[in-house]
Amino acid sequence: MTDPQNPARTDREIPSTLNTLYRELILDHYRKPRNKRALDDATHAITMNNPLCGDVIELLLRVEDGRIAEACFLGRGCSISQASASMLTGRVRNKTPEEVLELSKKFTQLLHGDESLLSDSDLGDLRALAGVSKFPVRIKCALLGWNCLDELTEGEVLPAESP
């Protein structure tokens, strides 16, 4: 029997697949998201949602001289979508649209199980999300913020100066 008064008390071992999915870094970004706020002087903004689950992310960028000077996000969703968006805002700073697209491609490959990218320093913290590859239905969650980014860059909206 379980002890309802002690939520985290279970003798059962956490399965290793879960440990590789829910790394501490991810939970940290989920509970203490970075750059999760409105950006008053944003030059670009886009909102996307996952109609399946209702997760929503609004990505806000301030672009200066063809580079992302600042990235913020708003929204709600699961630990994977929120942590991924939080990490995104850190990784895309000072990047050009081309560099951002390249990063987004690499990240997508990582989520699809390309282990060679585990040593890619450009991905940085994002590599903590590699465990998502074992949970194909959750890949969409990890990509939600990145879909916003792709939409902005591929739509060639990014290089423009004002919204």
Binding site: P4, P7, Y22, L27, G54, C78
Partner: protein, 434 residues
């Protein structure tokens, strides 16, 4: 909606009932039922499957699988078309299922049962056929804030087509319909009140007879979405007094892709066909056509014959087990699950404590329902996470998603325990709950 409520103390007689039901593992009657569902012997991610998603779709007993198999192996031909023996046999099997289902829901006549693809199509049928004929600009239709999208969207589209207006009955904080709000909206003399018997989002059991009476008192017709009720309750459309009743086979131990619409014969008579083609006409000339009799005029094209035959078998299965027996078992599970879940620290349960079925929607601390579902799945436990096609209801509670565990006749008290242990595992993965 209360968090961590523990006032649901079980009385002595309740605990005796629980004690008995807890002996599921040794109760031969229960094992016979559970053994009918071969899928429940599966392992998922290294754990015995704990299937708590029957509100989305139920599992199928062997005799339904075997009946469909036998139909396809031995009896299949097209229905209502041939003079040959096999076609007659297939037609008999198809119409027998209609009869079984008609009797099961207390219809006056089997012609009051129209086979559809499921609840969604049943509601669409009424919205198109009845709606396009009888709903005019400025007319009003009442829905509720706890409807499944399939009892919202067809009416929104009808409203767009016709200029009709939709009003939604409010939901109380504990997840029941606000009957005063209903009365207020009824003063506007709507044409139709279309509402769910049991909420798929919260398990609320609505006072359907009362609602039907109030609607009829102002001259409105009533459609009941029975998708979540028909699997668990003995339905009698005469007693309910409604005008239409929609339900799906796949949630009541039958196959997917088939369901039914019960409707009052006099309404079916004056409603035009829904789709058109073969099967639904009595005569076609190049100048025009005459419709077939009710119910065939609503069943254009070759129907899902094997599905309908399986549907009939599923209903017979439920009758043989006995809906009252099922209710006793489910009530015991429900009490036990309520007791265990409300004792979990940090768990918020949505929906009422009384007048409910064993569908439990909840959130758990700051662990998102998706994460909860992934973690439970790694322990073999299947629950649903998301908005459950209930976005207006989620908005009402200011949330985007819940985790939903739903129980059926084959579930056990041990599976309630497994769910609670899974929740502890989730708390452990997240390093406690916040």
């Amino acid at each position: 909606m209360e968090t961590n409520q523990s006032e649901n103390q079980v009385s002595i007689s309740d605990s005796q009932a629980i004690e008995e039901a807890l002996n599921e593992s040794t109760n031969p009657d229960f094992q016979v039922i559970r053994d009918q569902f071969p899928i429940l012997r599966r392992n998922i991610n290294g754990h015995p499957l704990v299937y708590l998603d029957s509100a989305a779709s139920s599992q199928k007993p062997l005799r339904v699988l075997e009946r469909i198999d036998r139909y396809l192996r031995e009896q299949h031909a097209n229905v209502h078309r041939g003079v040959h023996s096999l076609s007659i046999e297939a037609t008999d099997a198809y119409e027998e299922a209609r009869n079984t289902i008609a009797v099961h829901v207390g219809a006056a006549d089997s012609s009051e049962i129209v086979f559809t693809r499921g609840t969604t199509e049943s509601i669409n049928l009424v919205a198109s056929s009845w709606g396009d004929t009888f709903v005019k600009e400025g007319d009003e239709i009442i829905l509720t804030k706890m409807e499944h999208h399939s009892n919202i969207v067809p009416w929104q589209i009808l409203a767009e087509r016709t200029g009709a207006r939709l009003n939604y009955v409010d939901v109380t904080a504990d997840g029941r319909l606000d009957m005063n709000d209903l009365d207020r909206l009824l003063e506007r003399r709507p044409k139709l009140v279309s509402f769910t018997h049991v909420s798929n989002g919260m398990g609320t059991l609505n006072p359907v007879i009362d609602i039907v009476e109030r609607a009829h008192a102002v001259g409105a017709l009533t459609l009941i979405d029975g998708a979540q009720a028909a699997p668990h309750l003995q339905i009698n459309v005469e007693e309910l007094g409604c005008d239409f009743y929609a339900f799906s086979a796949h949630k009541m131990c039958g196959p997917t892709g088939v369901g039914a619409l019960w409707g009052r014969r006099d309404l079916f008579e004056i409603m035009p066909p829904y789709q058109s083609g073969g099967e639904m006409i009595s005569e076609v000339t190049l100048e025009g056509s005459r419709w077939a009799e009710v119910p065939h005029k609503f069943e254009a094209g070759t129907p899902n014959i094997s599905g309908v035959v399986g549907f009939g078998e599923a209903v017979q299965f439920l009758n043989d087990v006995g809906l009252d027996t099922i209710a006793v078992h489910e009530n015991s599970l429900k009490k036990y699950a309520l007791e265990r879940l409300t004792a979990v620290e940090g768990l918020t349960l949505y929906g009422p404590r009384e007048e409910r079925t064993s569908v439990f929607s909840f959130t758990y601390g700051d662990i998102h329902p998706h994460d909860l579902s992934t973690i439970l799945d790694q322990n073999g436990i299947a629950i649903r996470a998301g908005h459950h096609c209930n976005q207006p209801l989620m908005d009402h509670f200011g949330i985007s998603a819940t985790a939903r565990a739903s129980f059926y006749l084959y579930n056990t008290h041990n599976e309630v325990d497994a769910l609670c242990e899974g929740l502890q595992m989730a708390a452990k993965v997240f390093g406690g709950i916040a």
